[in-house]
């Protein structure tokens, strides 16, 4: 998690107000009054399931798509009225913004450098720097199609950083990567954020938003349904719970203690021998419970404060998602598998 400097005022780098985009004559509402903003120097995570409107939002903010209605500015520039100016200050990388796979990493960075109007010399210098920064120097002269998924994404990201954009948009930067590739990507993004880049990132991974973003908006059906820091969102769903797992014959006594500390509302799960209750005093309650257990000579197998995960947040906010998400996810995995097969055939 990146630390955010406390400032007295904040400059909004990105503002989107009431964006609407419909398809098929209004039948599909990809964006349905979406509103969000990103403060300068911070990371906003846009979190949502497939088809929630995340990519559409990025496409509007990066001038690729004109919304039916609504307003959006990036670095204070209107994306609908002055798209050319917006393009000069943004970088875009992700799911749908790609590089040329038949060319080498070097070729790509030179091409994009030249399209950003760097001189041939400056383009070469920048390409060298970026390849070094993203540990791709050894692979520079190989065609992209020989790269691993993680390398390809890193090159894609580096291409969007050629002119050091004021605002960077990353659309699902780790979708389809294996765990190692994802860790690498997170490392790269974290180091960019430490450098002060303003970033809007979409993801369907709760953990990713938790890891990388200062603020999170949860998007569903083209709307923002919740917003806050990861802590705030977790609190919004429910406070902390004291959870104690103990030996079966200690459960009754443990229950008594928890009831005293938490002031009621205790639930006991005999199956996993767990006693839990919502608490409002945080670690104080934990210490108190631990002391009382110790006084009675009971040594629980596990004791802790549990805060709701972003998964809990998501499910409690959207309700349906837990069920709806599943078939989509399976579809995605299959599609990914197919893509992989095709690559192997080559």
């Amino acid at each position: 998690m990146s630390s955010k400097a406390t400032t007295l005022y904040t400059v909004k780098s990105v503002i989107a107000e009431d964006l609407v985009k419909t398809y098929d004559g209004g039948k599909v509402r990809a964006l349905d009054g979406l509103t969000l903003d990103v403060s300068e120097g911070t990371v906003l995570g846009v979190l949502g399931p497939n088809g929630a409107g995340k990519t559409t939002t990025v496409r509007v903010l990066t001038t690729l798509l004109i919304p039916d209605s609504g307003r959006a500015t990036v670095a204070g520039i209107d994306v609908i009225k002055e798209p050319e100016k917006v393009r000069e200050v943004i970088g875009l990388s992700g799911q749908y913004a790609a590089v040329d796979e038949t060319l080498t990493g070097w070729d790509n960075l030179i091409m994009f450098g030249r399209l950003y109007h760097l001189s041939p010399k400056a383009a070469k210098q920048r390409a060298t720097e970026l390849l070094e920064q993203f540990s791709l120097t050894d692979a520079a002269k190989r065609p992209i199609r020989t790269y691993s998924g993680g390398m390809r994404r890193r090159l894609d990201l580096s291409a969007s950083l050629i002119v050091k954009p004021k605002i960077l948009f990353l659309d699902e930067p780790t979708t389809g990567l294996d765990p190692r590739g994802r860790q690498e990507m997170w490392g790269v993004i974290k180091s960019l954020v430490r450098g002060g880049t303003t970033l809007l990132l979409t993801t369907q991974y709760l953990e990713e938003a938790d890891q990388l973003a200062d603020d999170i908006v949860v998007v569903d059906h083209g709307k923002v349904i919740a917003r806050g820091t990861s802590d705030q969102l977790k609190r919004q769903v429910g406070g902390e719970r004291l959870e104690i797992v103990a030996a079966a014959n200690d459960l009754a006594q443990v229950k008594e203690i928890v009831a005293k500390v938490a002031g009621g509302n205790v639930s006991v799960d005999e199956g996993i021998r767990q006693v839990s209750a919502p608490v409002t005093t945080g670690s104080k309650a934990l210490i108190e419970a631990a002391r009382q257990l110790d006084d009675l000579g009971i040594h629980p197998l596990d004791i802790g404060l549990k805060r709701p995960s972003l998964d809990d947040v998501f499910i409690s906010l959207t309700g349906h998602v837990a069920e709806e998400q599943k078939p989509e996810d399976e579809g995605e995995v299959k599609a990914r598998g197919r893509r992989k097969n095709r690559k192997e055939k080559k």
């Binding site: 001038t63 690729l64 091409m111």
Partner: protein
């Protein structure tokens, strides 16, 4: 404005780099027309008579195959653009601060220039099987320049198709359906006088026919594969072809650029 041109040239250069990195593309795009030269020369050449003593079928055939090959340039253009769309490269280009026409202009130019290599190899193959243009170097060169311009103009149709279809496979099929009849309902390979009357009229005004007739003239042949009457396109194939090229560009350049600006890739 200077940026617009240099941006387009960067995109053109990308295509040449692709040819260096994946040389198979260039090899196959030249083998196919050479194969056509050999097939038509030896399969049909024996049974189609030019009707003129001393003039071999191959003399009439070569301009026909040149035009056909150049017309099919737009297949590569359409497929290449559809692939760029599918893979998200067009989105990347569209998010860059470059002129709106640069990507499509660069692509058309790149594909147009590729024809230099293809025409050179075909000309060589034609020469080996007996093609002998006798109008002098200047006119022969003019003929080839004419062909290059025709390819460039046709590429713009490919751009519009490439940006309009959902996948590269669809692009390929769409182009084939559009271009194949156009090249055969013409004077390129056989006299049009054998066709039903309605088709003869079509063939007479077909830009492929006027291009073939123009090239035959420039390569020093009287265009005897004819046209039904003493119509304007048959009398003035050079002028008619030029008009077609200007018309093609006047229609398809603005449409293509508009499509590029508004395109929504999936």
């Amino acid at each position: 404005m200077s940026h617009a041109i240099s941006d387009a040239l960067v995109v053109t250069k990308r295509q040449w780099l692709q040819l260096i990195r994946v040389p198979e593309v260039l090899i196959f795009s030249t083998i196919q027309p050479v194969m056509f030269v050999l097939l038509f020369r030896y399969v049909f050449g024996g049974s189609i008579s030019t009707g003129i003593p001393g003039v071999d079928y191959v003399q009439l055939l070569m301009p026909g195959i040149f035009v056909q090959t150049v017309a099919f340039t737009l297949a590569g253009t359409a497929v290449g653009l559809a692939e760029d769309m599918q893979k998200g490269l067009i989105d990347r280009f569209r998010s860059l601060p470059i002129s709106r026409g640069a990507v499509v202009f660069g692509r058309a130019l790149g594909d147009g220039l590729l024809n230099i290599v293809v025409l050179f190899v075909m000309g060589l193959a034609g020469f080996l099987v007996g093609w002998r243009p006798d109008s002098g170097l200047f006119k022969v060169m003019l003929g080839f320049i004419f062909l290059l311009f025709f390819g460039f103009a046709m590429a713009w149709i490919g751009i519009l198709i490439g940006l309009s279809v959902r996948s590269a496979r669809v692009a390929n099929a769409a182009v084939f359906i559009a271009v194949f009849p156009l090249t055969f309902l013409s004077n390129a390979f056989a006299p049009t006088t054998g066709m039903p009357k309605a088709l003869q009229y079509f063939a007479e005004w077909n830009p492929v026919s006027t291009m073939v007739a123009a090239c035959r003239e420039l390569f020093g042949l009287q265009n005897i594969f004819g046209v039904t009457a003493n119509s304007w396109p048959s009398q003035n194939p050079l002028e008619m072809s030029l008009i077609y090229m200007v018309l093609l560009m006047a229609i398809f350049v603005p449409l293509s650029i508009r499509k590029y600006v508004n395109v929504a890739s999936k």
